[in-house]
Symmetry: C2
Subunit: 278 residues, 2 copies
């Protein structure tokens, strides 16, 4: 398997050369996590079926010593099954299930709303040959002209950022979603964040966002895999008067469920407050 | 440790006898998962500090052969560390991190909004001696009279149910959040669902909700631990005209990220749609 430790990887990139799809980004990290070198086949949305010899209309796709493997989850399962002696991407089946929940939440809370806020930026940074396809397909998906959909995003961006509290909460006591070291849960969400960096021409996150540390450590992995020069700046969102805070200060609103009860001294301030005793 | 395989468990219950707190429910399941018998100390909110001999103002709390352990996460960590030869509650550190994310999301999307929809029901089912404390503390937390906060819930309940799609998505391909068998991720969310069943005097979920199967299997565990007769019916929510669907039919809106690409035949219908080719 994997001649010269190298796997063929079909990329999906913008005119900047940066990978675009969250799924393709996550797969790139997954291959590196398993210790492989990538033989990258470049390209955009146009001509995937031809480029892959009729194997697939969608990416990611890999070829491992002649064997085609499709689909981001399919590739992860293939890699863990085929190379069990290399670091696991999904170290327990519960990690797969919980990552699906997290990914579904992140998609709903963030990726969808960000897509609607950056859809024209997205098209504008595509390869010239992809622009018609991206415009048509995204306008059908979104049900609106890309420029109209994107308009008014300064109203929406602080709200999207405020929705990310569950991820901030998870990373408050752990360096990675994987625990002491990253695993596919990290790469899956990071893939969407790197998609965001590939399209966002105005920053989606505050410079002080607690997620910044995790994102930047993730970009540093594997000799700076997430540091392509074509990526846009993620930080610098400035809420205007009346906007929600883009992230929760001092523990967050859901702090109650994450505080540790170590005895009465740890709870008496709250008790005084909720029993209205001064 | 654990004389006669029994651990002392401080319960927190309503007048119905049903456990109320999500954290106490989750802990009850955790102890059973580790194979222990429970020596239950009954009681409500009033007098926890006295009942526990000054050890804590909050529950859950357990005593294992004289050793006090507080806090729902603290108890889970204690049980896995002290009894590593019994089934793990948290089989990998990534499961802890991802469960925190899932729990934070569920709290924000569902438990908080349900609390605001059932806060007067909650108080009405408390022990007589707890009613003043519950009224005062919850009115301070919620910033409003309980009856006023609860009013209009028929408007809100279908929307809360519609927000649960990430959990439905995770459980579509797996019997438990833990994978083939339940673990603390299941008990943590199930604890909140059982809290809901303890308070909800009008059903929060549709009879056809795909989560029903997982919830009911969870209630069956450990000789029907989640089948206390004081619990209310969870199913029977009927959306009115104009309400959102309480759950997604046929794969869900986020289906795109969960469909498997197995080659062009699996994607060509979508391709025709998004390229506007009939």
């Amino acid at each position: 398997m994997a001649k010269d430790n190298t796997i063929t990887f079909y990329d999906l990139a913008l005119a900047t050369g940066a990978t675009i799809s969250p799924f393709v980004w996550a797969t790139k990290y997954a291959l590196k996590h398993k210790g492989f070198e990538l033989d990258v086949v470049p390209g955009g949305f146009t001509g995937i079926l031809e480029r892959t010899g009729g194997q697939t209309e969608r990416l990611p796709a890999i070829v491992d010593d002649g064997k085609w493997v499709l689909d981001s989850w399919g590739i992860v399962e293939y890699l863990d099954q085929t190379y069990p002696d290399r670091p696991a991407l999904i170290p327990h089946e519960s990690v797969a299930t919980l990552t699906r929940a997290l990914d579904a939440w992140f998609w709903r809370a963030a990726v969808g709303p960000w897509m609607r806020s950056y859809c024209a930026d997205y098209r504008d940074q595509c390869l010239e040959c992809d622009k018609d396809y991206v415009t048509t397909s995204r306008e059908i998906m979104l049900g609106m002209k890309l420029e109209d959909m994107q308009a008014g995003r300064e109203e929406r961006l602080p709200k999207i950022s405020a929705e990310l509290e569950p991820l901030r909460m998870a990373l408050r006591d752990s360096p990675w979603l994987g625990g002491a070291a990253p695993n596919y849960a990290d790469y899956r969400v990071l893939g969407s964040v790197l998609w965001l960096a590939s399209v966002a021409r105005t920053p989606p996150l505050s410079a002080e966002d607690p997620l910044r540390d995790w994102i930047e450590r993730g970009r540093d992995l594997f000799d700076g895999l997430g540091r392509h020069p074509g990526l846009n700046t993620l930080y610098g969102l400035e809420p205007r008067d009346g906007d929600p805070e883009p992230f929760m200060k001092v523990g967050g609103a859901a702090g109650g469920i994450f505080k540790r009860n170590t005895g009465p001294a740890s709870t008496q301030a709250e008790t005084r407050k909720i029993t209205a005793k001064a």
